[in-house]
């Protein structure tokens, strides 16, 4: 086995700038949200071709289900002309990989994948040069193939990468302008491939943060607030300290942890802590009128799109519709509740944390304890889902603080209820749309006002613009008070904004009596949008009919992270039960590195988005979450899952954009539109099954 440590590995090393180019404007939310972390080096090792001819790629991203380890390996393998099995990808360990802001916004393939392709192409060129020297032939007459460099022509000379690299230690600077493999030369990319990390996942060998055990580790359970924002006044720990298995109770300000020899003993200790709290704001007994709160507290209007004079144009329209849509808080609820293990070695700290931001957490921990970032190592092992919720990772802080005081390694692992209650939620939103249109369904004016809960305006802005051709338009988003903490959720506010917009487009279709696919096409000139819509409709077997047609078919389109998606849902409604039978989605994410991986992401997005459409809503009183846990918060199960067909329509010569998020953007509206098509009842509030009851 070759040395996998980038700092010490021998062979051919490709170094390059840590930054993979300026973030596109759409990820400015990330800079705004997580600006506390900055790279501590300008250069990093991106790729090593080892002396045995295999390769290791290094990336600061993490694997939490997107399949990027596989996608990145495919990209490196293709540029390096190696089998995928000969490429290893090291992720998410701050000691080993290039600095990265975090794994969000579908940037892994779009930016890091491109960087690794350039690194691998640079390595390929270097290997050709090594062979040219060895064969004393011009490099132009050589080609790399299946881990060898060969001279053209029959009987030409050839050498394996291992032979070329034997005894060598070569370093090259990543060439930003290196010639990448053109699509016609692909042998690995754009072909469906299995996950390279599948075996570890089916045998139980894959190690997640919850699975990490270190010598001398104690299991901690933490005293939790009864409601968001509550402050600890006093706590009596005397009974807890006498409980079986409890080693000690540690208090650090408002953080109180019971350290024990097992999760169960620690939890039993916390259960007998006698704590007094000051609860802020609303009395827990007072239900909040959330729609009213969102509108009344809306502030900081931000215009994401503006053209013409919509208020005047409404007067010239043949028809005008105005409608309000409401979307509740939902929970990310990944299958692995957050967990962290912290170990101090003197003033050096190592934390195993299933976070989407290992470098951001490293910065936070260094700042908290007043130590250098180089004294902190954050290791993100396999991560059991996140969908945005594992960007903030307070559990890492809790483990590090408790371990510091206890003088031994400490593990903090949230229970399911903790993970759901002491979390962030997708912001609730209230969206009002006014549209003006002609009798043929062509839009003339569009006013969109979105009130999104929480103090992170970028969440609500995303995906609020309309992609339809409309001469007079104004789209404004507001920041509203939030009784619950809000945070990232797959596609941020895009799925929320799309639910309102795409529902409203169907309302226009019903008003003018035009088929809903046809209505969209009449208002769409963007060629990529038209293509996904036409492909999804054709693949589904869509037949034009004005809604409601009783067929139970609904369509919606969407764009997120630069990728285009159109989704058709087919369903039946029995009483308050909606049964989604079949979904067809078309995705254009440009060059699709691993079509099977992209398909998997869209299938999953459809199921997750179906949950938000039909079942999911966080219930709360004051700052208290009432339905933390799977007894009272329903998420989709295999018995709910529709058959999903995914059409991938991206062109190989269009740069890759994200595949993990766009699939969730249209699905809720497609389902609501299909419910209208089936029943003739327009539902403007999620989740639909609750409204139907």
């Amino acid at each position: 086995m070759s040395d996998r440590n980038a700092a010490t590995a021998a062979g051919l090393r490709i170094t390059g700038d840590v930054h993979t180019g300026p973030p596109p404007a759409r990820t400015s939310y990330a800079r705004a949200a997580y600006a506390n972390t900055a790279p501590d080096a300008t250069k990093a090792t991106w790729l090593v071709v080892h002396a045995d001819g295999t390769a290791t790629a290094y990336a600061g991203k993490v694997e939490y289900g997107q399949g990027i380890r596989t996608g990145l390996a495919i990209e490196v393998a293709d540029e390096l002309r190696l089998p995928v099995a000969a490429v290893e990808v090291v992720l998410g360990d701050t000691e080993l990989v290039p600095w990265d802001m975090g794994t969000f916004g579908s940037q892994s393939t779009a930016r890091v994948g491109l960087q690794l392709r350039k690194a691998a192409a640079t390595a390929r060129e270097a290997l050709l040069e090594l062979a040219a020297d060895r064969f004393d032939l011009p490099a132009g007459g050589l080609r790399a193939e299946a881990g060898r460099v060969k001279a053209d022509g029959d009987g030409g000379r050839s050498a394996t990468y291992a032979e070329l690299l034997a005894g060598q230690s070569v370093e090259r600077e990543l060439a930003d302008d290196v010639a990448l493999m053109p699509p016609a030369g692909f042998t690995q990319m754009a072909r469906p491939q299995r996950r390279i990390d599948a075996d570890a996942r089916v045998t139980g060998a894959a190690v997640y943060a919850r699975d990490v055990m270190v010598d001398g580790m104690l299991f901690a359970a933490v005293l939790r607030w009864p409601a968001a924002g509550a402050r600890l006044r006093d706590v009596d720990t005397s009974t807890a300290e006498r409980m079986p298995g409890v080693a000690r109770v540690v208090r650090d300000g408002h953080l109180v942890g019971v350290l024990a020899d097992s999760d169960e003993h620690a939890a039993a200790g916390v259960a007998v802590l006698r704590a007094q709290w000051d609860e802020p704001g609303e009395s827990p007994a007072t239900p909040v009128d959330l729609p009213a709160l969102l509108v009344e507290s809306g502030r900081d209007p931000y215009v994401t799109q503006e053209a013409g004079a919509p208020e005047d144009a409404f007067r010239g329209a043949a028809g005008v519709l105005e409608a309000t849509y409401f979307i509740p808080y939902v929970s990310n609820a990944p299958m692995e509740p957050r967990a962290a293990v912290a170990r101090w070695d003197g003033d050096r700290l190592t934390v195993w944390a299933g976070t989407q931001r290992p470098f951001g957490i490293r910065s936070e921990l260094a700042q908290r304890f007043g130590i250098e970032e180089s004294a902190v190592r954050v290791i993100a092992p396999e991560i059991g889902g996140g969908f945005g919720s594992k960007s903030p990772y307070p559990v890492a802080h809790e483990a590090a603080r408790l371990a510091r005081i206890a003088g031994c390694p400490v593990r903090v692992a949230y229970t399911r209820a903790e993970d759901m209650a002491y979390a962030t939620f997708r912001p609730a939103a209230l969206i009002t749309i006014k549209s003006g249109f002609m009798s043929d369904g062509k839009l003339v004016a569009w006013r969109f006002e979105g009130y999104h809960a929480g103090d992170r305006p970028f969440l609500g802005r995303r995906g609020s613009e309309t992609p339809y051709d409309v001469p007079h338009v104004k789209v404004t988003t507001y920041t509203s008070d939030s009784p619950l903490p809000t945070g990232s959720y797959r596609s941020l506010g895009a799925a929320v904004n799309h639910f309102a917009r795409e529902s409203h487009m169907d309302e226009i279709a019903a008003a003018v009596g035009i088929d809903t696919v046809e209505l969209r096409l009449r208002n769409l000139s963007d060629a990529r949008f038209r293509r996904v819509l036409e492909r999804a409709a054709a693949a589904h077997g869509w037949s034009a009919e004005a809604p409601p047609s009783k067929r139970g078919q609904g369509v919606a389109i969407g764009i997120d992270v630069g990728s285009y998606c159109a989704t058709v849902a087919q369903l039946d409604v029995q009483g308050s039960e909606v049964r989604v039978e079949r979904v067809t989605a078309a995705l254009d994410c440009g060059l699709t590195v691993n079509p099977d991986g992209a398909r998997n992401q869209v299938e999953g997005s459809v199921v997750m988005g179906m949950g938000t459409a039909l079942y999911e809503a966080i219930d709360f009183r004051g700052g208290r979450v009432l339905n933390a846990g799977f007894t009272r918060y329903r998420v989709p199960r295999s018995s709910d899952a529709p058959a999903v067909q995914v059409e991938l329509v991206g062109d190989d010569d269009t740069p890759s954009t994200g595949a993990g998020e766009p699939g969730i953007v249209p699905i809720a509206a497609a389902i609501a539109n299909a419910v209208f098509d089936r029943t003739g009842t327009r539902l403007r509030e999620l989740p639909l099954q609750r409204v139907l009851r």
């Binding site: 694997e63 996950r195 075996d199 699975d211 999760d263 299958m335």
Partner: protein, 155 residues
């Protein structure tokens, strides 16, 4: 003191009241069996006891004393994956993978009592397992494939 058999190995458990999932994960150090909810609702902790699926998170060690427990680590034989594991690999029936051991154990139990289950039976048997990544279609495909493979091998 309780005696257990896990993946063919005999083990002593001093505390009969110990949570079975924690015993498996932290005492036996078989961390393939996962904690997902602690309430028996998500199936991530599913193990087999004498071939029957059991939620380890709501069970004590004492309750399975004398039983033969199989965890996901005990399925492969001499490095060869169990047909159900193999089918999950072939179908890429996973995203984050955290729930997958539980799905595999439930599926192995199903195929143990039903050699050629219908799609509806598979869906029903797996409806108490949860995959938040939403890979249900692939999981159902994988179990169907595994059923065909096992039947083919038995013929």
């Amino acid at each position: 003191m309780v005696t257990l058999q896990i993946n063919g190995q005999t083990r002593d458990a001093p505390d009969a009241a110990r949570n079975l999932l924690s015993y498996i994960r932290f005492d036996a150090r078989l961390t393939g069996t996962k904690y997902g909810c602690g309430e028996g609702l998500c199936g991530a902790c599913t193990v087999l006891v004498d071939g029957q699926p059991l939620r380890a998170c709501t069970t004590t060690v004492g309750a399975v004393a004398g039983g033969a427990i199989t965890t996901v680590e005990g399925l492969a034989r001499d490095g060869v994956l169990h047909p159900v594991q193999q089918a999950f690999v072939e179908e890429s029936a996973m995203q984050c993978g955290y729930c997958i051991p539980g799905f595999i154990m439930t599926s192995v139990a199903l195929l143990g009592r039903e050699q050629r289950p219908t799609r509806g039976q598979i869906r029903e048997a797996l409806s108490l397992n949860m995959c938040r990544c939403g890979t249900y279609q692939r999981i159902l495909d994988a179990v169907e494939k595994a059923a065909q493979a096992t039947e083919g091998a038995a013929r």
